[in-house]
Amino acid sequence: MNRRFLVGLLLLWSLGPLLWQLYTSFCSDQALTQPFASIDQRWTLIHYRNVLTANPPFWRYLVNSLLVGLSSTLLCLVLALPAAYALNRIPCQLSIMSRLALVGAALFPYVLLFLGLLEFARGLNLGNHLLALSFPYAALSQPLAILLLNNAFNDLPPELEDAAKLEGLTLFQRFRWILIPLISPATASTAILVFLFSWNEYPIALTWISDSSKLTLPVAMARIAGSSIYSVPYGAYAAATVLGSIPLVLLVLIFQKPIVSGLTSGAVKG
């Protein structure tokens, strides 16, 4: 009984604000100003229509974020996998030091890097190139990715690779046939966490992208917030919030296992 109450409270706390947005998004402007009064025309889809037919349409931001997320994840894994493997093959003390440095980098509030990265983008003309964002994203998620994958490599029995060496497999062949398949669960966890990070990242995207058709979802949301010209724009905000949340809610529901195991393994071993 007591527990049921607590669980209810927990769910209300976690999901209440989201459900309120969902409710708001279907309310007419009139209904919004009097949320608990009874009004004839309470329900409407107009906010969704507005958001989806705006210029550029809302789904464009989702596509942009998806592209950036995928390319960043790919780049991050391509770099982190060999590095995580090599971290086990360097002298022990050096390896421990590098792992400590990586933990420090993972803790670092990366928002402070925005200025350096902005100068970088200016210097190399990377601004307003959507895929160029994968470069800082891959770098920023590198510490976590290397740590997680390194844990996974550590957990592999070394004989598997030794046996493959004796079979004559080169390093690349060992990666292809043994290491990559065997750490695929950890790789999946890492990939999802990196994807989440890239999808949600704000300050770097804010400074690197200004062209409205190339915005990623978080920046687009912030710009919607700043640029609204409606008197009560919250119906449209809420519709945008709901549309922006759906992909991630689905992602969490589908991939909850790898996400939890990724976060947990980072915590337990890091």
Binding site: P157, E159, A164, K165, L166, E167, G168, L169, I178, P181
Partner: protein, 323 residues
């Protein structure tokens, strides 16, 4: 085809894991490496396989110096204690992988895998994942993989220690058949001296990273070079008397017999071993182990004696054998 290691050593930091190893293994010969855990058996094997780097000395395989050749280029077939089968690949794919990267044609691969599966009697399990096999079957797959490699030397790293005792005895003759018929040098690492004596032509005893003695099982048993070997080889363990004049006298439990005259002993306990029984006795020279026939009735107090030819003498400080 012979394997020769000369003055081999490996150092990690300032510590020598193994050092001054000298060993020659001939064609069709099986040498067992035995010793307590941490004595450097597996390290030696890994040096020969090329999995660890050599700090000093040389490894010569069929007159070619392979001391610093990478593992991928040495023709070494190795069976690991944990079998090291790839859990995500079927038995067939496990066997196929090495052949494929070595560039064997598909049809030939198929044929050779089939043949080797027949040999290890796993014809019907080729599509199965390793997790679905029993321990003995996994071990045979691991062996099959080593055989397929057609190596110049076989290295077996405690291949049976994960199996239960009964299975081990069953597999031993099979292992001999499969591996020794290949007419290649074989090194067999085990911590089980029975297994070593059963399977090996010669046994090398390692202690703290050094080889103490290399000899046939019989020699090792009857003429142990050091006190350590005398104690390590042979069960029940050899009896050591208290040092006298800088020498230790040791007598095997089965060399002791009851006599009317001799060392007066008190029976402490007895263990029944089926074909024999082991008596724990308390004597003026310390406690003694004696094995004798089960039919014998043992009184509380006995007198024990032995032939002086059965005595082994060792230097009390160096542990070396005194002739």
């Amino acid at each position: 085809m012979t394997l020769q290691i000369q003055n081999l050593g490996r150092r990690v930091g300032k510590q020598w894991i193994v050092r001054h190893l000298n060993l020659q293994v001939d064609n069709s010969e099986c040498v067992a490496l035995v010793g307590p855990s941490g004595c450097g058996k597996s390290s030696t094997l890994r040096l020969i396989a090329g999995l660890d780097s050599v700090s000093e000395g040389e490894i010569i395989l069929d007159q070619a110096n392979v001391t610093h050749a990478p593992a991928t280029q040495r023709a070494v077939g190795m069976v690991f204690q944990s079998y090291a089968l790839l859990p995500h690949l079927s038995v067939k794919a496990n066997l196929d992988l090495g052949l494929r990267v070595r560039g064997v044609r598909a049809s030939e691969r198929q044929q050779r895998i089939q043949a080797i599966l027949d040999l290890v009697q796993l014809q019907d399990r080729s599509e199965v994942l390793p997790a679905q096999l029993s321990g003995g079957q996994r071990q045979r797959v691991a062996l099959a993989r080593a055989l397929l490699r057609d190596p110049d030397v076989y290295l077996l790293d405690e291949p049976m220690s994960n199996l239960d005792a009964q299975l081990r005895e069953e597999l031993r003759p099979e292992l001999r058949r499969l591996v020794l018929d290949r007419h290649k040098p074989v090194i067999y690492v085990t911590h089980d001296q029975h297994e070593a004596m059963a399977i090996a032509d010669r046994i090398a005893v390692l202690h703290s990273g050094r080889i103490q003695q290399v000899a046939t099982p019989a020699d090792l048993y009857h003429r142990p070079e050091t006190l350590f070997i005398a104690k390590f080889i042979g069960r029940p363990q050899i009896n050591c008397f208290k040092p006298k004049d800088g020498a230790i006298c040791a007598v095997r439990p089965e060399s002791l017999f009851f006599a009317n005259e001799g060392l007066p002993c008190k029976l402490i306990s007895r263990e029944w071993l089926g074909s024999s029984q082991l008596l724990y006795l308390d004597s003026p020279h310390g406690s003694l182990r004696l094995s004798c026939s089960t039919t014998m009735e043992i009184p509380e107090t006995v007198h024990v004696s032995w032939h002086s030819s059965d005595e082994h003498h060792f230097d009390a400080t160096t542990g070396r054998r005194l002739t």
